[in-house]
Each structure stands twice: as C-alpha cells, then as structure tokens.
Homo-oligomer: 408 residues x 2
Amino acid sequence: MAYPVSPLASPFPDLPPIAGAVPRVARAGYKDWDRCDLTYVELDAGTTVAGVFTRNVCCSSEVELGRENLRQGQARALVVNAGNSNAFTGYRGREAVEQIMEQVAAHIGCPREQVFVSSTGVIGVPLPKDKAREGVAKALTAQPCSWEDAAQTIATTDTFAKGATATAVVGGKTVSISAIIKGSGMIAPDMATMLGYLFTDAAVEPAFLQQCLSAANVRTFSCITVDSDTSTSDTVLAFATGKAGNAPLASFDSPGADAFAAAVHDVCRQLAHLVVRDGEGASKFIAVTVTGAVSDESARKIGLAIANSPLVKTAIAGEDANWGRVVMAVGKAGEAADRDKLSIGFGGVWAAREGLPLADYDEAPVAAHLKGQDVTIEVDLGLGDGQATVWTCDLTHGYISINADYRS
Amino acid sequence: MAYPVSPLASPFPDLPPIAGAVPRVARAGYKDWDRCDLTYVELDAGTTVAGVFTRNVCCSSEVELGRENLRQGQARALVVNAGNSNAFTGYRGREAVEQIMEQVAAHIGCPREQVFVSSTGVIGVPLPKDKAREGVAKALTAQPCSWEDAAQTIATTDTFAKGATATAVVGGKTVSISAIIKGSGMIAPDMATMLGYLFTDAAVEPAFLQQCLSAANVRTFSCITVDSDTSTSDTVLAFATGKAGNAPLASFDSPGADAFAAAVHDVCRQLAHLVVRDGEGASKFIAVTVTGAVSDESARKIGLAIANSPLVKTAIAGEDANWGRVVMAVGKAGEAADRDKLSIGFGGVWAAREGLPLADYDEAPVAAHLKGQDVTIEVDLGLGDGQATVWTCDLTHGYISINADYRS
C-alpha cells in the first residue's frame, strides 16, 4: 500500500465471523516485501460455492481451474496469492496452481477440485512453486485471523482494506454474509485485479447460490469501471457453509430466498462501490443513471460508455458540467439513442432536455454539486423503460502518476 | 492555439494550388478571439465530391446535411466554422447550416445541395446566425489565401497547422492532391473534432471518388485514436475539380485509377498521422501492428483495444515495456485470440512468444527504443492471415491538464 490512502476511503466495517469458514494468513514472500501475502480460508464439509470470472480471453490458470472446479459445487478451501498474478505463464503457471490445490487437499483430505486458488499481481512471471509450497504450509497451521487481516493480505496496490456485511432472515434463522474484496481498478492488470469473496453461514444449494451471485454481478461488479481495462484474473466467489441451520435454499420458492438474494446483492453492491472508491487516482465517486433506454442492457452499455469516456471523467475531475461530452459518449455507445429525445443532468438538475440546452438552465446548483465528492450524472433517452446505474471515478493526474511511473 | 506546440509536430509542407479550388478565410467571431475562424473554398462547376462521416448517433446537423448532399455527387463550395460545433442544438442549429448553404448557393448560383458545411468547437450552443451571415459575406469576397492559411483557420485546439500532398500520373496527366486537416483528438468533442478535406485537380466520377476515399478511410482515419472518444462532427470530404484534363476515372478499370487511389490513401495516411502527432498531451507516436488475426477487421479491433487502453498508453508514457498490459488488452478486445499462441514485441524485439515470456529476453534494446519519440508495438496472434496497423499517442499528464482544466 505504497500510495496515499484514497480520499474516498471507508473505514473497515465490523464483519461477523462465519461458522464453518476460518481465515488464516502467512508470508510466502512472493515479492520483496515485509507483509503477509498468502490468505487461506478453510471451509467445513458441506460448503457450497458459486463464482463469476473475468471474460478476458487471456485469463490466468487460476481462472480456468476455478471455472472447472465450480462444476461440482462444493468447496473446502480458498487460497489467495498476492504479488504475482501468475497470468500468461503457460504450463508452468498451471503446475503451480495444481501444486497448491494438491497440497491443501492432502492436508484437509478432500478432492483437489474443492480447493479454489486466486492470484493477483504482476503478469508473466510463473508463481514460484517453492515459495507457494512453504507459504501454504505456514498458512495451514497458522492461528486464525480476522476478516480485516484477510482483506489486507489479499490487497496489492489497494490503499485501504475493503469489506462488507449483510444479514437476512431465512426460515426463521438469521444468516450472515461477511465479504472481502481487493482492487483499485476493476479493470487494471499487473497489480490491480479485482478479487472478491463472500462467506455465509446460510445453507444454499450451489445452483441457487450461483443464481443469486450471477444476478447480483450483473447489477454490481459488471456496472463498475475505473479505466475500461479488464483484468486477466478478476474473480468473485461465494461460499455457503450451511452452519446457520436454515432449511437449504434451493430456489426462489424456498422461504427466505428473496431475503437472502437481496443480502447477496447488497453485499456485492457495497464491495463494488469500495473498489471504485479506491480507483487509481480517484478524487470523486460518480454514479451514472441511464433511464428511458430500449432495454436494461442497453442502458448499462450507454452508462459504461459515459463512465469510460476519458473526456467525461476529466471534466468531472475539473468540476466542469460539460454535458456536451456526455452527449458525445451516448452517441458513440453504439446503442439506440435519438439525439432529439435526449436529456442530460447533473446532481438531479437537467442541463438539456429533449435534444436542446435548457434556456433557463441555472448552472449554480450544478457547479456546487460538482465540487462535492459524490457526483451523479442523469441521462434520459426518452425511448423505453430500460434503466441502469453504473459507477466510476474521475480521471486525474493521480492515475497517470500511478500507471506511468509503475515499473513492471 | 493556446497550448505549447506538440513535441511531435511536423512543419507544414508545400501544398500546390489546385486548379478549380480557391480557398478564402474571414473572421466570423464565433468566439472572443483575434483570428480568422471561417474558411470558404469555392469549387468550379463539375467538381465531384465524396465523404465519410462520424458514426456517432448524436451527430451534428452539418453531418446529417452533408450525408444528404453527398447523394447528388457534385460540390461547388465548402464552408468550415471553427469555435462552435453546432452539435446538439436541435432545429436552431439546423437552420443556421441551411442559412449558410442558401447564402453561398445564391452567391454562386448553384443548388444549395452543392454547398458543404462543417463546424467544430463547443457542443450545445446554436451557431449564431448573424455572425455566420456576416462571416460568410466577408469570405465570399475576400482575397484568395494559401492552403496553410486555410489549415490554420479550420483549427481549434490544434497546436500546429496540418497538410499533406501527393501526385499521381493518370492517363499521361499528372494530377495533384492538396489536403488539410484539423484535430488533436480524433476523437474528442468540444474543441477537437477531426475535420479533413482533400482537393484534387483530377477528373473523377463521384462513385469512384467515394470508393477511393472509403477504402483509404478504413486503413487510415479508422485506424487512429487519441482517447477512444468519437466526436459528434468528424468529417472527411474529397473534392475533385477535374481541371487536370485526364479522362475521368470511373472505376479501377480506368487507366491510372490505381495510382490515383494510392495517392488518396497516401494523403489520408499522412493526415491521420498528423492528427495523432497533435494528440492531446502526446509525447510519443505509437504504431501498433497486429498480425496473425482471423481477419483484417479482427486485427484492427485488437489493435484499437491496445491503442485505447489507458494502461498501455501510460506504460509507454513511462517508457515501460509492460507487455503484460498488452496481453490484457488483447484479451479484453472480444476478438478471437489464444493466449498460448500470442507473441508480443516492442521495436521489433519479441518479449514473449507463443504464450510464454522469452527466457533470453534482452530488455536493453527495448528500453532504448521506448526512450525515442516513435514507438512500435508488435502483436502476433498466430491464428490466421489478418493484419492491421493502428496509430495512437501516449497518455500523459498533459492530457489531464488540457481536459480537466478546459471549461466548456
């Protein structure tokens, strides 16, 4: 955590322990640094798992093997390496991941497919097997630690540790979710892969857990961007230990399923926002809400075109209500839009309505809104019922300093 | 031209006069500045025209009317307004363009469809009709000027005037092309729309002129990017006055057609490179060559994913041979790629071959190459015969300063 803490940082919340999920950390020494960099979470037998992964076709072996492991739906352990992403390292990288899976499986006495591994850090350097073996051995026998320790250990260029929690009442039982994440680009390779982990004591069938996670993903992680660059290693996994004693959730027909799905969505949204709040060089948190699109997916794509536009992001950094740049971004998105039905606003104040600048547009409240840390942009397309909100940060000199000075 | 001249600037070349195409400039006073900002080029009867326009769906009235005018294939005049893009101004903006078309058509005595108008500058402010009328009146009777004067007058945030020329022998006659362009983002609205104009004394049928321009466009203007933001007003027009006395070119079967098409391509490539060389904040000119793709179009899309990646562009700014970021950009492009066949190089030196970092990779020559102003990135996908080269500039603090400090 070499950079100054983000001005948008949040304090780490109180995350409750999750019965059946015990985190431990150790020093593998993947880089020349004086900190723990290997996280191990042991999961009780019967834990179910769901996951979503990067769509980058140059993905890491960790992502490939994670996708394969997911098919059997059960998990006994999670291992996260920080400091080396092990991406683009061919068969040597894959062997290192398989070695970790086998080492942990032998210790627990489970199939190796139930051990999930993630790595984050520099691309193109095979994960050193000796350091991994020693680090895992230390972690297997280390004292249990807090979720905050685990959140710090999975971090790389993050400037603050990130966690979120929610509860739901399921069939009369209160279930908890504790979750951690790292990333300061969603969306930035090398040292800024997004890795997120949710742990719950709820009993949930794997298929329904996947359904909840995938649905939440579409409206949370898939709606954030720092710099439009999609990592080779992005991973979010959800583990359900079943210790809360509820009747297992199998579908939305199960009592409490809605409450549980809402809690998963809530936690994912919190985590996604934390990543944006630690966006490289961020000084403002920006929510872009698009309404009146032909579909929700179209609204999301237009929102991301705005949120990824360097000209929109630099305008917000400069506290400039430059709605012409928003018009440009809507038009380049490749989605249905009609210039003469388009309305644009900032902080809830319309600057242009139905294709024309407002004659009585008062810029004073908008200028005041843009001076704050939390900025909203509203776009109404006037075409249909589709809507979406996406989140991003501004583009500042800090981003250039971090990424032009960083040496691979 | 408020910013320091780009370190990548080229001197303005000697552009020959084109018989039948006479440029003039005047002061319309679209902004509070002390310079000419209205360009008028009168074209002799019989001049043919071709054009390519932005695909931004929020395009300006100038672009809409230009597309319509193009259908009849003849041109008698070009008017370019600098300082106001007239985009997103609804019916009021359209009326201003129609007024200019009618004023010029009445002066020349031609159908208004033969008057082409472009505007570049701030979005959302209707072009003031009174200033336009007075400016056009002055320009119609002004002394003819040089192509360099015209290039300076169409410019806005450009830091240097841009022109290019080429000749071809067509049926025993030497024909010339003189061309000017403005833009310092291809691809940046407000004050950085790309507008380009080619004038030739060759006799060319409109359909074949369009064929030549469209073909050149795909491999030149469509292969450059400064910041991924597509303007609402981008326009390139080609005018052929027919004064060279060659037999009119109607297709590739006409003698000299290949030479003419090559000259058009050559001029378009020169113009496209000049825009990148004036990219906002640029300190390095980057050529990305992609080979081994499944198609040329796939190669172009992968090249643009690399050229638009803020992480790749900041790495080059930092003179960092960070090929992991190139891997990431290839993978996120959404095109066919196989991580284990991918090779990446800088300045002609491979850093990774077929999915693995090179064991004997010598970074010294690459580091020396990256210190220069002209940088090349080579990507071989190992899949097919598709190839493309795209051009961009690096992403520096200069870009942030220009765009975060600019006030709409």
